[in-house]
């Protein structure tokens, strides 16, 4: 029965695999990964797997032999035995010894994985619905990392590209050959930061900080995703890590620090500048799509009972300052998070303007970055 079943399964696999050719290669096993730890994990996985296969083959062989030979239709008379202390002791002790043999390499590997001491640099990773925030503790660098796959691909209006759902706007960048420590936490619900090729998966618990680490030897792009159910867009929260040579990494870090410093200076300068309503609306729509649409939906209708709608009701048509307040501070005790560290004042001004005028809201309100700045000053 087992043999027949296996060949049947393989046949069916072949049958279905031919017409459905989404992927070039079919990955059926765990990745070996690109770190010493991930290699050890892979080897441990294969060791335990083969032990299980051998046990399975022995047990099932005895069983199927019995099924073939010890059947009534062959005219056998059943035996009467129902106890054998020696055999029973043997099949209690032998599995125990096999387990001890597995526990030894498992223990040494775990002790290595959990040793986060002597790291060369640290990155604070914060999960929030549904994006990752990376903050380099040794550099003046921090940014959000959002899903880059357009909604049109998800809803089938555009063809899906190679890295569908596994691509972000700003990946985490780390140097090769360095022990990078990850400090992992969350702003809202529990997330889990997972990169299979590093064999790193650690929960991001709100209010607590977990530690993990990796040392990547090969430069490259490594993809993973959130592994703990974190609400509606759990599937749309990928992790992308780029490992660069230390020199390239330093160059990247300097240019990134410069970029962020320029952005802050630009922000200061623009506080005094008025943007036209068209500019605000255009930028606001982009911000809405990237940051607000997951809950409030692209058409602002929200999800009844879960995420409030913004059309013709609520904050988007009532007091303007209250609207800025909600975006700036979030709403405590709800999924609405604070965007003060996520978005620039210009972006907040734009998205508030957009939401107050899109979808027939037509309040005519125009909010400038200076308004957001004034609000923040009065607020602090």
């Amino acid at each position: 029965m087992k043999v027949r079943l296996t060949s049947l399964l393989l046949g069916l696999l072949a049958l279905f695999a031919t017409p459905l050719a989404y992927a070039d290669s079919l990955q059926l096993n765990m990745t070996r990964g690109v770190t010493d730890i991930s290699q050890r994990v892979y080897n441990l996985h294969m060791l335990v797997f083969w032990i299980c296969v051998v046990i399975g083959v022995i047990v099932f062989s005895v069983m199927f032999w019995s099924i073939l030979r010890h059947r009534k239709s062959r005219g056998v008379t059943p035996a009467k035995f129902h106890d054998n202390v020696k055999v029973e002791i043997a099949w209690t002790v032998i599995p125990f010894l096999i387990l001890v043999a597995m526990a030894v390499p498992a223990t040494t590997t775990l002790l290595k994985m959990d040793d986060t001491s002597d790291s060369d640099m640290s990155v604070l990773i914060t999960g929030s619905q549904w994006r990752w925030h990376y903050s380099y503790l040794d550099y003046d660098i921090e940014y959000m990392s959002n899903l880059a796959t357009p909604r049109e691909q998800i809803y089938g209006r555009l063809p899906r590209t190679e890295n569908y759902l596994l691509e972000v706007d700003r990946p985490l960048v780390i140097p090769t050959g360095k022990k990078v420590r990850f400090l992992i936490t969350s702003d809202d619900v529990i997330h889990s930061w997972w990169v299979p090729e590093f064999a790193v998966k650690k929960d991001a618990n709100p209010g607590y900080i977990n530690e993990a680490w990796t040392r990547v030897d090969q430069p490259g792009i490594y993809r993973g995703q959130c592994a703990e159910l974190c609400g509606r867009d759990h599937a749309f929260m990928p992790v992308v890590v780029i490992a660069k040579d230390p020199e390239d990494f330093e160059a990247w870090a300097r240019s990134e620090e410069q970029r962020l410093a320029d952005r802050r200076a630009e922000e200061e300068r623009l506080l005094a500048m008025e943007m036209s309503k068209e500019e605000l609306m255009e930028m606001g729509q982009q911000v809405h799509m990237s940051y607000c649409a997951a809950c409030h939906q692209p058409n602002g209708q929200g999800v009844p009972g879960v995420f409030p709608g913004l059309v013709g009701q609520g904050i988007a048509v009532n007091d303007k300052t209250a609207h800025i307040d909600v975006v700036w501070n979030g709403v405590s005790g709800s999924a609405m998070q604070s965007f003060r560290n996520t978005l620039t004042m210009r972006e907040i001004a734009a998205v508030v303007t957009y939401q107050r005028n899109a979808w027939g809201n037509n309040t005519g309100d125009v909010v400038q970055a200076a308004d957001v700045h004034n609000f923040s000053q009065g607020n602090q």
Partner: protein, 533 residues
């Protein structure tokens, strides 16, 4: 095992004399008869099996291809949540309680359960629990969408108001389970026929006896944790919120302290069923009866010491991880003993392969596959890669569907002649078996691969490299789902008494008191206790 010497009175007389009962709806509403209540539990669990199964089919339909085609991600999360809750609390657990109600009194020679009125109540609150739970679909925001594990704070601060209905329905289900468990324990301790010592009880009785203690131990923990979720959400407590000194990981410790014994609650009675069926069709006594009892007890004991193996990635101290890894690996020893005992029971028997035996053999093979992937999952460093992927989904469906559910099917075919008085349709039952066996493997086996390749569980959309396998899995899902309608047809046919009349003991090698009463079992049995030597 018990050896029946005499049934001290003619069961047929009892049938004529006592078989009076109210008719119509009143019979079912007010019944205190263990057979009626068992029947209602079994029908209810089958109904829930179909409801939870149709949710699984919606999940598989959405996952047939990459991209969002049919449902919204929020609705998808409602489906995964409700599928899990309904299958665990609505399908598998009530099915076992139904089997316990029917079979424990018949197996120990008791006239009924010890607490018949409470028995009625423990069943009749269940439909209301599930009405409350299912009515949450009508609320704004729909049903709970935080997974059957309802991790805080997704289930507290970030959930919709359906959480309140979820909590209350959980309370009711817990009450029902506790009452059922008390009834089983009191019945077994007090109502065994003269001569039926503990070590002569059939293994189904033994496994249920131990299961009932597990239920009493952990259901109050579940009640506590859902209440804490309720107060965190509505009454300003901070059990699971660091902002007020709480800890979201505390939720997981409490939940899995309930949840892991719960896993064994759903599999120990299966061990009892299979231990009845394999000897019957191998025509040979069960190998290692005493070691089966001790193995069951040690699995139950260990189940309280392994809960945190569900939580290796939460950032536990290394030495806690090691402790839970070792304890979890240890469970393989008594579980292995059971599998070896079943195989040795078959060895040099004279086997025939009626449908109950086919399901029992499939149980042993597929449960063992699920057990072996369980050993892999126990290894903490590797679990970091498996955790929350489809590998885990494959693992627990192997033990719960091709394990627990297959054993329930085996039990249904084994005892259906006793319940209905007619033999089931053999052709349809074999068709059901082969369709289920093939489709369950198309459904769950490829999940191992897609999980190892890195596909997380509980996602409505996935990267393109997972597409082929998901398509296969979905085809298997629909085949398996619709195969279960064959089972419905078989049972309805038997319930309508269409089939050959069944003798008191339709299986040549079957043993036990239940086969000493006529088929169908009269409304009242063992008014005078039988003598067991």
């Amino acid at each position: 095992m018990s050896t029946v010497v005499t049934d001290t009175h003619s069961a047929h007389d009892a049938h004529d004399h006592h078989d009076h009962k109210p008719t119509g709806i009143k019979r079912w509403l007010f019944t205190t008869n263990h057979k009626d209540i068992g029947t209602m539990y079994l029908w209810f669990s089958f109904l829930m099996f179909l409801v939870g199964g149709s949710m699984a089919l919606m999940i598989r339909a959405e996952l047939f291809q990459p991209g969002m085609q049919l449902v919204d991600p929020h609705f998808f999360n409602q489906m995964t949540t409700m599928h899990g809750v309904i299958m665990v609390f609505g399908a598998v657990m009530p099915a076992f309680v139904g089997l316990a109600n029917w079979m424990i009194p018949l197996m120990i020679g008791a006239p009924d359960m010890a607490l018949p009125r409470m028995n009625n109540w423990s069943f009749w609150i269940l439909p209301f629990a599930f009405l409350i739970l299912l009515s949450s679909f009508l609320m704004p925001g729909g049903a709970p969408a935080f997974g059957w594990t309802f991790y805080a704070p997704l289930s507290t601060t970030y959930s919709t108001d359906s959480t309140a209905l979820f909590v209350f329905s959980m309370h009711i289900m817990g009450m029902s389970s506790i009452m059922g468990a008390i009834n089983v324990i009191v019945t077994i301790m007090n109502m065994r026929a003269p001569g039926m010592t503990y070590m002569k009880m059939p293994l189904f009785v033994w496994t249920w006896f131990i299961t009932a203690f597990l239920l009493i131990a952990v259901m109050p923990v579940l009640a506590g944790v859902v209440t804490m979720v309720l107060t965190d959400k509505y009454f300003g407590t901070f059990f699971f919120d660091a902002a007020g000194g709480g800890d979201p990981v505390l939720f997981q410790h409490l939940f899995w302290f309930f949840g892991h014994p719960e896993v064994y609650i759903m599999i120990l009675p299966s061990f009892g069923i299979v231990s009845a069926i394999i000897p019957a069709f191998a025509r040979k006594p069960l190998f290692g009866y005493a070691s089966m009892v001790y193995a069951t007890a040690s699995i139950a004991g260990l189940s309280f010491l392994v809960w945190a193996h569900h939580m290796f990635t939460t950032g536990m101290p290394t030495f806690a991880s090691l402790f839970f890894m070792y304890m979890t690996m240890l469970i393989a020893v008594p579980t292995g003993v059971k599998v070896f005992n079943w195989v040795t029971t078959m060895w040099r028997g004279a086997m025939t392969f009626e449908t109950p035996m086919l399901f029992a053999i499939a149980f042993v093979v597929l449960f063992t596959i699920g057990g072996l992937s369980g050993i892999m999952l126990a290894i903490t460093p590797v679990d970091y890669q498996y955790h929350d992927t489809y590998f885990v989904v494959a693992h627990f469906h192997y033990v719960l569907v091709s394990g627990a559910v297959f054993s329930i099917m085996a039990a249904a075919y084994y005892w259906l002649p006793k319940w209905s008085g007619v033999m089931y349709d053999d052709f349809l039952s074999k068709l059901h078996f082969w369709a289920s066996l093939i489709s369950v493997n198309i459904l769950f086996f490829p999940m191992h691969f897609v999980g190892l390749a890195g596909m997380p569980r509980r996602i409505p959309d996935y990267a393109l490299q997972f597409a082929d396998i998901n398509a296969i899995v979905s085809v298997g899902g629909f085949l398996f789902g619709f195969s279960q309608l064959i089972f419905l047809a078989v049972v309805v046919k038997a319930a309508l008494k269409k089939g050959e009349p069944a003798p008191a003991k339709p299986w040549e090698g079957a043993e036990g008191l239940e086969w000493t009463v006529p088929s169908p079992a009269p409304y009242h049995t063992f008014d005078v206790p039988p003598q067991v030597k």
